[in-house]
Structures are given as C-alpha cells and as structure tokens.
Amino acid sequence: MSNSLKVPVNRIIPFSSVDGPGNRTAVFLQGCGFDCKYCHNPETRNLCVACGRCVQECPTGALTLVDNKVIFDYNKCCKCDTCIKVCKHGASPRIRWMEPAEVLEEVKSNMPFIRGVTTSGGECTTYPEFLKEFFRLCKDVGLTTLIDSNGSYDFSKDRELLEVTDGVMLDVKAYDLNEHINVTGTDNKMVLQNMEYLASVDKLFEVRTVVVPGLFDYEGTIAEVSNKLSAYKTNIRYKIIAFRPNGVRQEYRNYNSPDRAELDRLAEIAKSKGIKDINII
C-alpha cells in the first residue's frame, strides 16, 4: 500500500505567506488537468516523458538520462530554471517521488514557525489518497490543512478527505462555461458545483479569480461568484488576483496587468453583492 501513496513533489516552500492564513508550508504536487493560459508555473502541469532535452541543456550537469529516466542531482543544481524553460511537455525533471511521511518530515522541520500546510500544484487533488494520509499525519502533529484546488475533483464524493481538510481555496477561473474553456481548456461544471457544495459544508476557505484584461469577462465572473457565495452564512474570502507575467509562457505573456483602480472597482462589486472579506493581491 505504501508504494501507491508516493506522489511527484515539484517543490516544498518552507514558509509561505500567500497560501492561506498565517505562515504555512506549501507542498506543490506535479500534474494538472487544466491548461490555463496565464499559468505562472506551467512546468507543474505534466509528468516528465524522458525526452532528454533538458539533460542536454543543463549547464551544470545536474541532470542525467539513466534507463529512460531523467535523474536529478539536487547538489549540482544552480536553480537557473533552464530545464523548465526548454521543456516542451509542461513538465519538470526536478521532481521527487515522496511518501506522505517523508513530506511530513520536511514539514516538521519548519515547526513551530508554521501553523499549517497547504497542498497545491499542479492540481493536488490528482492524488486524493496521498492527501488523506498526509493530512492525517499533519493533524497528528497539530497542523492545519488546506487544499489549493482548480475544482476539478468531486469533493462531495470524498467525505473522508474533507474530514481531514480544514478548508479549500478554490480557483474560479471564469464563471461562463465557454470562457472557462477558452481560459483553461476544460469546462467548469464541477468547479461551480464544488464552490456551492464546499460553501454549504463550511469547507470553502477562499475563492480566487485571476483578473486578466482582454482574456475573459472577469467582472461578470466576480459578480456571479459573489452573488452565489453571499447566500451562505460563512465568511468566505474572495481573493482578487492581478495577472502578472512572472513565470507565464512566452506566448501568453503579453496580457496587461490590471491597475489598482480597476482592482478596487472589482472589490467594490464583490462588496456590493455581500462579500465581506476581500483581498486584492
């Protein structure tokens, strides 16, 4: 059984201030079914196919191709990111396959400075069995647990996962179906169903929308999402995130970032619909 719980870990950020309340360790798992145009870590979408391109380009020889697998030597890495820039497959060779207990060991070295963990990605709900075991272990040592999700996983069918999850931070990339398909390459039926389901069982910590002028009707999305959420009693935070080109693939980097006045206007719209906790990033 333990073998089946090994997951590809892209990276572990010891202290994160942007992945939920307080200081948290953020665990990024590899692999995501969405293909968002503005994705700022596109190298977390897919698993390595061992094409070997990064091995040739690595300036420090940290990567080698052995038995049709790319082997990564952490100590030789100079963190120049050449490997992920040249990858044609939206993957990263710098992946560690780890058990829940191994991840917890790394997390524990950040205690007592953190209050919890946040799993992100990629899309961490690609690995629900890992999450359940990992979160159980986190709870045992007194840490809170949050999931950062694109909403593609049917949470309503996995009570066991929600029992060990303190909250979900859900991305609503676009409210309109066709716009969602345009932004992410997939439909949003499950996302919207999750939004209401998680709100109804008090597991929706936060909803996030990235504002990308020219890509989709973000104003409509924020208004609709706010409308839906205001029906629930709990105080759900709406995080309105400005598009930034950092990390975005070259072909999608030319979108403009919204200015502060525009973000404030959107916050006002959310507020007018009854959202109390609004965070502009």
């Binding site: 201030s17 942007v18 200081n23 990033i281």
Partner: protein
C-alpha cells in the same frame, strides 16, 4: 590626572574649532561634540597594560572599542529610571506632584526625560508607556486620549534628538497599549524606539497582531521574548537603547566591544584564536571596563549627587555592565579560511559550530570574571551583541549573518540565529525587511514571532521593505532624512549620520527581503 602633550591639546583645539564652524551639525550636536572633545583631554583612568595597542587603531586592526564613552565617564552609559515610582510619588527636585490625569502624566514625563543623562545625553529609556499611561486613559474620551498620546510621541521625536531612545509595551494587552500602537502606526517617526514584550501566556493575539501591523508600517515595535528575559534578569527588566535588556532602576555603567574579526586576523589558526589571542584581548577589555566602573562609582560622584539616585529613581546596586562583541561571522570566516576550509558562517554547519564554540569561550570567560559593582547580575557583566557603528567597515554586527549572505529560506536563517541569541541577556537581535505589499498577511509575521519565542530566539524586528522609516542596526532612521544629510542639509537626529554611515559601509539597504 596625567600630563598630555601640547601637540595633542592643539590638535583637539583645531577639531573644536572645526565643530564650531560646521555647516552640517545642529546646535545641540555641536555642544555634544565640544563636550566629547573636551573630555578627550582628560587622563584619569588607570589603563591596563596592552590596551593602547588594541584600542587606538584603525577599524581594520582595532580589537577593542569603547564606543565613544570618553576618558572620564561622568555618568553611567545607560540609565533606566523607575518611572513607575515617579508617577506614584512625583519628584522633589523637579517640583512635580504625582499626575492626576493624562495631560499631567505626559507633561511630567516630558519634563523628566530632559533630566535623564546617558552617553548620548538623551534618555535611552522612556518607560513602559502602556503601564504608565493606562490608569489615565480608562475613563476618558478615547479620541482625546489618542490626540494627547500622539502629541506626546511627536514631542519626543522632535526633542529627543537621538534614536537610541526606547519605550516598552506589553506583554499584557492594555487600552493604552492599543492606543500607542494605533497612533504610532499613523506616523513614521524614528523616536522613540519601541519594543513589545511577547509572552505566550500573557500576550493576546489581538495585541501581537496590532504590533505586527504597526511594525510593517512604522518599523516598530520590535518583539522581545519575555520569558527568556525574565528568566535571566527578573520581572523588572526593560529593553533600552538598541535592544538592551537591563534592570529597571539601574542601567549599565559601560559598554565596550570585542572586534572579533580583527582578533581572528592575529591568530594563526582556530586553536591559537580560542586559547591565546581571544582570552588575551578579553582579559584586557574586562579590566578596562572594571577601571571605568571604578571611576564612575568611586570618583565621579554621580551616584551621590544626581537627583535620580538621591530620590531613588535609580539604585547603584541595580547597575551592571555590558561586555559587547561584533563580527562573530567575520572571525569564523577568517578562521575557516586559515584552516583551509570554504564553509561560511550562516550557511555551513562546521562554520556555525565554530561560532558556537567561540561564544561558549566568551561566555565562560565572562562567568569567571567578577566585578564587585555588578551585584545586580551576580557580579558578572552581561554579554551584548553590539550592532555596530557608522565607521565600521567589513564588521558584521553582533552574531548576525552578513548582509548578502543570508540563507535563501527564512527558516534556515532562523535556525542559525536560534543558536546564538541565548548568550546575550543584555541584548541581541535580528532584522527582517518584509515585502508587505505582496504579503498582506500580517499573521504570517505573527506566526514567525510565536515560533521564535519557543525556540530560544530573543529579539526580532521587522519592517516593510518599502517603508521610509527603517531599522538600521538597532535604531531607527528615516531614509528621507539620510538623503537630506547626503545633500548636506541639517537633520535633527544625530543618529541619521550613523544611519548614513551604515548605509554606505554596512549595506543595510541591501538586506534580503522576506
């Protein structure tokens, strides 16, 4: 008093005339400089043999530094008056009765501050302001209380012309404490410096979070580990000057510092440093401090004649002295090189272990050195991680990791400093600029503080990386005031000049932003 040469007299006279004619110094700064130059002509201390060679050298060679205390100390370096007593009893010398309301309270305090000497000629401690003012804000209009306290703080900033001036709040939440944090958060002033004592059993999340929010805007308060200080100094400790733990109603006679990097330069290897060069310098510095203390207590007359002592606002037997050091990182790196090793302090376990070994050696020396006038601290000095002075070039403050070499991850930085804070009851601290515009998550900083006080970390400071007022090494300075001074304009606080030196020589604007 020993004779001195006419040559030295004339050189000093030239320097005095230079001060008189200076176009940058304010009047107060000129007066203070003139006094220091006059003092420099006195030779009354019985100096230990070998001191001259260690003390009177350039910054690349000097092994002991006495931090401008002068040749004939006419007062202790740091004085910590018992303001609680003053509020209860008033002062006969100052002809002040105990205050009956908030206006009288702040007026009395502002008068008192003008009569508290120190090495800077300004008070280095202005009281636990929340406790002093809390009784007077209970039943009054909150808006008026805020206005009065704001004016009180502005008055301090504009008249206490040196930012080695420290107020305390906490660890318990009080109405006055919240008001102080609120009005400080509305301003960006350097004076007074402020420390919040933090205790997991006494400090509420609400107070700690208010402190963090104020710090990210105004670079203060800093956060002190209350349980740690209390276990060493007792409940009646305060934080004064930069971040110095001292006894209420007492203070510190003197502060000298070892410049560890320069001592390491003289050593052939690690063993020579630990067993020969370092003990030799420590012995001379300790005896130099003994002599300074002897003069202050036995000859200066301060403790017999000053009203603070006469009326019981200070007690001679609550004083101690601070055995300071700078450049632990420099010494470790120099010694590692001499051993043919590449590891550097802050990022290599062997180098950090060497740092711990050096600190254990210094600590051991200090616990074996006795001074009969330091009864308050078991007849020993207190170790102090000194923050550096403007003239320091290639000298790393205290036990800090050099700017530019901070570990990539904050957790690794905190793990290093948690090995060193425990040695310094009379003060140490680390400073972290925070990118507050990106984070918008003050609880992130709160969690780090809560973790730190559980991990033997003594004292932490944070400031917003885009803030005008910033923490230089321990004290606060406004970047805009440094720019004025760089343009040769007058500035009111003498510490601005120190900040300018630290900006150019200590690269303090290049700290790693967290």
């Amino acid at each position: 008093m020993r004779e001195i040469s006419m040559e030295r007299v004339n050189k000093t006279r030239e320097e005095m005339l230079g001060v008189v004619k200076s176009d940058v110094l304010t009047h107060e700064q000129k007066v203070a400089n003139m006094a220091n130059l006059a003092d420099s002509l006195l030779e009354v201390l019985d100096l230990p043999e070998g001191l001259d060679d260690l003390l009177n050298k350039g910054i690349d060679e000097q092994c002991i530094c006495d931090l401008f205390e002068g040749h004939a100390p006419l007062r202790p370096r740091y004085i910590i008056p018992d303001y609680e007593k003053f509020m209860k009893e008033g002062s006969e010398f100052l002809q002040l009765d105990p205050p009956k309301d908030l206006l009288e309270a702040v007026n009395n305090l502002l008068i008192f501050y003008k009569h508290v000497p120190s090495v800077t000629n300004y008070p280095v401690y202005v009281g636990s302001l929340d406790k002093l003012l809390d009784p007077f804000v209970q039943d009054m209009d909150e808006e008026m209380a805020e206005k009065i306290i704001k004016m009180f703080l502005i008055h301090m900033d504009r008249t206490i012309l040196d930012s080695f001036c420290h107020a305390n709040i906490g660890p318990e939440p009080t109405k006055a404490g919240f008001i102080i944090l609120k009005v400080i958060g509305q301003m960006q002033d350097a004076v007074p410096n402020l420390t919040m004592k933090v205790d997991k059993d006494l400090t509420s999340d609400e107070l700690l979070l208010a402190g963090v929010n104020t710090a990210l805007h105004s670079a203060k308060p800093s956060f002190a580990n209350n349980k740690m200080f209390e276990s060493e100094l007792g409940k009646d400790y305060v934080i004064a000057s930069c971040y110095n733990g001292l006894k209420l109603g007492g203070g510190s006679y003197t502060l000298c510092r070892l410049i560890l990097g320069n001592i390491a330069k003289k050593a052939t290897d690690v063993e020579d440093f630990i067993n020969d060069k370092l003990p030799y310098v420590m012995d001379i510095m300790a005896r130099y401090m003994d002599e300074r203390i002897r003069f202050e207590v036995e000859e200066s007359g301060f403790f017999e004649n000053n009203f603070l002592a006469k009326e019981g606002f200070i007690h001679r037997d609550r004083f101690t002295a601070m055995f300071g050091l700078v450049g632990l990182a420099d010494a470790v790196n120099i010694l590692m090189e001499k051993e043919g090793k590449t590891g550097r302090f802050g990022s290599n376990k062997e180098a950090d272990d060497l740092g711990v070994r050096i600190m254990d050696k210094i600590d051991e020396f200090n616990t074996h050195h006795n001074n009969k006038y330091c009864e308050a601290t078991d007849n020993h000095f207190l170790l102090h991680a000194q923050v550096g002075i403007a003239q320091d070039i290639d000298v790393t403050p205290g036990t800090r990791i050099p700017i530019g070499e901070e570990p990539e991850e904050l957790i690794d930085h905190l793990k290093v400093i948690s090995r060193f804070h425990k040695y310094f009851p009379s003060g140490t601290g680390d400073i972290f600029p925070i990118d507050a515009t990106v984070h918008r998550n003050p609880e992130y900083v709160m969690d780090i503080i809560k973790g730190a006080i559980n991990q033997d970390i003594r004292y932490l400071s944070f400031y917003g990386s885009d803030s005008d007022v910033i923490r230089i090494t321990g004290y606060l300075v406004k970047k805009s005031e440094i720019e004025k001074l760089e343009n040769h304009e007058n500035v009111k606080h003498d510490t601005t000049a120190l900040g300018m030196g630290a900006k150019h020589n200590g690269h303090i604007l290049e700290r790693k932003v967290r």
